[in-house]
């Protein structure tokens, strides 16, 4: 998932930064998306624990995965990645098997968050934030959508005023959900149907957009966008006519996690960091800053109720979210997924 708010630095730096950005002197290197933690989180952690942590940024899951695979996990201690990528780190033997006795704050998590499909019992990953993917729209300009088809086959009035996420898994998920298929579907015939549906939808789009879609909603350039719930909140914060809805066919359940690297030379500090983030106060502070739900019961119970009033999707309960299917690592099929996305984007 991409969390960076502006594409400019992403385009400029990702090309140059391969292999750079890992620090030597610090005793703990944490990699996260830009703006995905409270701005003071690292300083507060350093002050409270006496560690010397440094934050480095990645723009996408794929970027940090490329670095970790190339370096065999060296140079980083804790990374934030979406759950399918945590699975890959585990399968590659790069993720630390977690010693729960060093993470007492795990008790703060919702039960559901300890039973996630990708990692039952939090053996190698700790959920940091979770949520849904749906439609974010201007209620003053267009009708409330019911179905994914409102996005994929928009009315004449709406055509040309919608955007879709361009990242492989979420782009495909919109078509998979609309067709009633699993978000991890790999059957070639079903995927061909999904591809055709998404090619048809492409004609009606304003653009593919992972990074500035909420700004397009605010300006009125777009009227309905395919969005992660937390990011729709950034639009709602600027214009209260913006609303978020999960279409009737459902959503995926995405989970962003923290993973400690097996190659970390500072495991004590790494465990301390993960445990610190899981604290009721710190995790609540994170949720209030990034406007994403966190899977931490103690934190969510302490959330300022006015936030849920302003941003209704902050109030989605774990039970509501758990009815949706989680994105999983699809292994070999990932290459077919990439190809399908190329076919969609290359289609006229």
């Amino acid at each position: 998932m991409i969390r960076q708010k502006f594409i400019t630095p992403a385009l400029l730096t990702t090309g140059l930064a391969l292999g750079a950005g890992t620090a030597m002197a610090e005793d703990l290197v944490v990699s996260n998306w830009d703006g995905y933690m409270a701005p003071d989180a690292i300083d507060a952690f350093n002050q409270e624990t006496g560690h010397d942590a440094e934050l480095v940024l990645h723009a996408t899951n794929e970027e940090i995965m490329g670095k970790l695979i190339a370096s065999k996990g060296k140079g980083y201690d804790v990374v934030f990645v979406s759950s399918p990528f945590a699975e890959v780190l585990h399968n590659l033997g790069l993720a630390e098997e977690l010693d729960h006795s060093r993470l007492p704050n795990l008790d703060n998590l919702y039960d559901a968050a300890t039973q996630l499909e990708h990692d039952t019992g939090n053996q190698f990953s700790v959920p940091y934030a979770w949520g849904t993917t749906g439609l974010c729209y201007r209620s003053d300009l267009t009708d409330a959508p019911q179905s994914w088809m409102a996005l994929l086959q928009p009315s004449d009035e709406l055509a040309g005023k919608t955007t879709m996420l361009a990242t492989d898994r979420w782009l495909l998920a919109a078509g998979q959900l609309a067709k009633g298929y699993s978000v991890n579907e790999t059957d070639p015939e079903k995927m061909a149907e999904v591809r055709d549906l998404l090619i048809e939808a492409k004609d009606t789009l304003l653009a593919y957009d992972d990074t500035t879609f909420y700004a397009k909603l605010v300006s009125g350039e777009a009227e309905m966008v395919h969005a992660w719930d937390g990011w729709c909140n950034y639009g709602i914060a600027e214009n209260s006519d913006i609303k978020y809805v999960i279409p009737e066919e459902g959503s995926d359940l995405w989970v962003d996690t923290m993973v400690i690297l097996k190659a970390s030379e500072n495991k004590d500090a790494a465990y301390d960091f993960v445990n610190y983030i899981l604290g009721a106060e710190t995790h609540r502070w994170a949720a209030e800053n990034i406007l994403y739900k966190v899977p931490n019961k103690a934190a969510m119970d302490g959330l300022d109720p006015s936030l849920i009033e302003t941003f209704p999707n902050m109030g989605l309960s774990p039970d509501e979210m758990m009815q949706y299917e989680q994105l999983r690592d699809v292994g070999e099929a990932q290459r077919a997924y990439s190809r399908t996305v190329s076919e969609i984007k290359a289609a006229d």
Binding site: D168, L206, G220
Partner: protein, 284 residues
């Protein structure tokens, strides 16, 4: 005794180029002959499958599409740029440096800023729409941003100064007496341009065209920003292989083919330039 001096003088540049350009390029290109691991990374078993995949109809069509967009951009840039260069070279000598300065002025700002400026202009709630509304236009303008023409406009705009400079050089060096001779011999203005001026400035045109083509075909920023991600050019495909699909070997194979195309064009252009300048010395 002094034979070696040029070599000494050149060695820092050569070392710089080989250490930071040639060696990394060779390393990347070598990846094209290995397999991608299940989760990205590289399996060191030799294979030609990545190069075979480049000619797969899907990817070959992306190459063709990129060549089309780059070719169209280069053509438009040459037509506009040549006219501008011709006009500048026809101005009094003392004004020419100022005009050339104005032509390259956009280079003083960042490529991304210049590209974003087009987003501000072209978007559905942008300046052009606002201007049309101000003039009393009430309907909806056709979609301008995130289209193929928007990508072409962005490329032409960004690379036009290269063409102006490339065409200005031979135009300004043109001996005016040759054109006068053509007219004295009864050639009309158009005939003189077509049969005398144009042929003698072909090297500049070729340089400008190849520059824009080569810079455009590998471009990934403009299609991403002005095409709204709806146009996959070869640069975007390579970007995706390295940074999202984590398929470095295939990305390397695509890069290898792209670099081969660029080298062929640059070589052809060098020959054209040599022939052109050779021709001029004979004539003058």
């Amino acid at each position: 005794m002094n034979d070696r001096k040029p070599l000494y003088l050149m060695s820092p540049a050569l070392m710089w180029l080989s250490a930071f350009m040639v060696v990394p390029c060779v390393l990347i290109l070598a990846l094209a002959f290995f397999r991608r691991g299940l989760y990205g990374g590289i399996e060191y078993t030799l294979t030609l499958e990545n190069l075979a995949l480049v000619v797969d109809p899907l990817y070959a069509s992306i190459f063709l599409k990129s060549a089309w967009i780059a070719g169209l951009s280069a053509l438009i840039a040459v037509v506009i740029g040549y006219a501008a260069a011709y006009a500048i070279s026809a101005m009094p000598r003392k004004h020419q440096p100022k005009l050339l300065f104005l032509a390259v002025l956009p280079f003083w700002s960042n490529y991304l800023v210049r590209t974003y400026a087009w987003i501000v202009l072209l978007n559905r709630e942008g300046l052009i729409t606002a201007l049309a509304r101000w003039f009393g236009f009430e309907g909806e303008l056709p979609k301008m941003l995130y289209t193929e023409p928007a990508v072409v406009v962005g490329l032409v705009y960004n690379y036009l100064p290269f063409v102006i400079l490339a065409c200005y050089a031979p135009l300004s060096r043109l001996n005016p007496e040759i054109e006068e001779a053509s007219r004295d011999l009864g050639g009309s203005g158009w005939t003189t341009f077509r049969r005398v001026t144009l042929p003698m400035t072909v090297p500049g045109i070729a340089t400008g065209f190849v520059f824009v083509f080569v810079l455009s075909i590998g471009n990934f920023v403009t299609p991403a920003l002005l095409g709204g991600g709806q146009f996959q050019m070869i640069g975007n495909l390579i970007y995706a292989q390295f940074l999202t699909a984590n398929d470095w070997p295939f990305g390397a194979a695509l890069s290898m083919v792209l670099i081969a195309i660029m080298m062929m064009l640059l070589t052809a252009q060098t020959f054209a330039a040599e022939r052109g300048s050779g021709g001029r010395t004979e004539e003058s």
